[in-house]
Amino acid sequence: MSTETSESAALPPTRPSSTPSRRTFIATTSAAGGVIAAGGLVAGPSLLGVEEAVAAEAPPSSRVSLTVNGKRYTVTVDNRTSLLDLLREHLGLTGSKKGCNAGACGACTVLVDGRRVNSCLTLAVRLEGAEVTTVEGLAKGDQLHPLQQAFIDQDAFQCGYCTPGQIVSGVGCMQEGHTGSAEEIREWMSGNICRCGCYVKIVRAVEQASGRK
């Protein structure tokens, strides 16, 4: 089941609209897609759970206003919706990844009110007034965040699936001041698993962005 859409909000703002991206390609070639109304968002339950889809009555939902990457959203969410599902399935911000969906891998890491958290374990309904920053919100226009640039410079990924979580977590790590040594970075980045095993270069990237290299 695909929940991708050709919703323009899902595209990086710098991409010319005529250029097909991997994401729009997937979206336009898959048969079924969720429909997102960008204005008055009504976010249903995660589309992934079968038991959720067959719930007989309308499940309890709540209205919540939050800011994501500087843009304010007011949405009505099924109370079960995680911040990760809100971002990916309803706001079209698919940068944050769903790895384990259990707080064990860090692929979903975002900043909430400046602190890195696992968005898969964060109930969206609890975020009234919160300010969320995802990997899509780190660059300033064409100017990549220094840590994004460092990941490119250091070649700090292979498959790239964990990378958005690594980068947001690394930003949190730098803000917290835990970049005093490679060992300290390793320990304070341990909440982000990389199954390709790019840890050495990930540490180098955080060192570069924090001015240690």
Binding site: E51, S82, G106, L121
Partner: protein, 326 residues
């Protein structure tokens, strides 16, 4: 995940009222949301208590430290007073989970967290903790990470918290507030051994709320620290752990506080180890002799026999590290 209604408590009074009606408190949510997704937990109502004024660390009149239930793990670990007075608490916290989870999880939730027993988390398996009377799949199953101390016929699951081991060692108290008022209980009485009711894990009445954990004043100087042994170096639960605090004056150990984690159904206080230390002069032989009793009473299972020896060595090493630190 089963549907639930959600309410945010604007005040402690309203939180208690919602709790009395059966609402389930949520603070960091790192355990609860995870277990709700697995349908291990199926609360009908969540009561968000994150707005309550329980997020301060204060020095008590008697010189102890009172840590509010809603102080996050990362805040508690980084707090200057906690770091300088009770390094064992800071270390236990920072060796737990990940930076992300520690930013979310609170102290109160940390000691309320539920076991990592895979059979408890798997709703297709029998589990007396999850479904009283259904049986214990871990007893004859794959029980490498399970408890060797404080177990019963009905349950062999470990308590997963590291901070709770440090609190148990330091003889902390848990402050509670309920419909009938405030009370405090010794940490040792707060977390319950499974016995024949493993589904009952804390000495909490319906609707009661943890407001703070209080560490009593300790003699100065107090050297302390936490050692955690695990399958990988970080972001992993303990196979064994040791929380040690020693007051050494005039070359003699005057007070000793020792507890172990990863091995018990509750944080495991080690009074025999403490007794073997008090009145003695630190020495290599003393650490080994005192640690000899660390696993007394252990009842290992098929796959976790290694924990008996590992526990003794963990305690011995941590006694040496703390006892011989500057």
């Amino acid at each position: 995940m089963h549907p639930f209604s959600f309410t945010k408590a604007p005040s402690t009074r309203e939180a208690l009222e919602a709790g009395r009606r059966g609402g389930r408190y949520i603070a960091g949510g790192t355990t609860l949301v995870d277990l709700m997704r697995e349908t291990v937990e199926r609360p009908e109502t969540l009561v968000d208590i994150s707005g309550l004024p329980l997020d301060e660390v204060t020095v008590t009149e008697r010189g102890g430290l009172r840590i509010g239930a809603l102080v996050t793990m990362s805040e508690a670990a980084a707090h200057r007073k906690v770091r300088t007075t009770y390094p064992v608490v800071s270390q236990a916290l920072e060796l737990s989970a990940s930076a992300q989870l520690r930013n979310m999880a609170t102290l109160g939730g940390n000691i309320m967290q539920r076991t990592r027993c895979t059979y408890f988390r798997d709703v297709t398996a029998v589990c007396n903790k999850r479904e009283p009377g259904s049986g214990c799949a871990a007893r004859e199953g794959y029980n490498r990470t399970h408890a060797i101390l404080g177990t019963s016929e009905d349950c062999v699951a470990t308590h997963p918290s590291d901070a709770a081991v440090a609190f148990a060692a330091l003889d902390a108290r848990v402050h509670l507030l309920g419909p009938d008022g405030a009370r405090s209980v010794p940490f040792a009485d707060f977390l319950l051994r499974p016995g024949s009711t493993p589904n009952r894990e804390q000495a909490l009445s319906k609707g009661e709320l943890i407001t703070a954990v209080e560490i009593p004043a300790c003699p100065r100087p107090l050297k302390s620290g936490y050692l955690k042994v695990r399958d990988r170096q970080s972001y992993e639960f303990a196979l064994t752990s040791a929380a040690v605090a020693l007051h050494i004056r005039g070359g003699v150990i005057r007070e000793a506080k020792v507890a172990a984690g990863g091995v018990g159904t509750v944080p495991w206080k080690l009074p025999a180890v403490e007794r073997a230390l008090i009145g003695e002069r630190p020495s290599e032989r003393l650490w080994a002799r005192a640690a000899e009793s660390a696993a007394d009473g252990a009842r290992p299972l098929e796959h976790n026999r290694f924990k008996v020896e590992l526990l003794k060595r963990t305690v011995e090493r941590q006694l040496r590290i703390v006892g011989e630190s500057k």
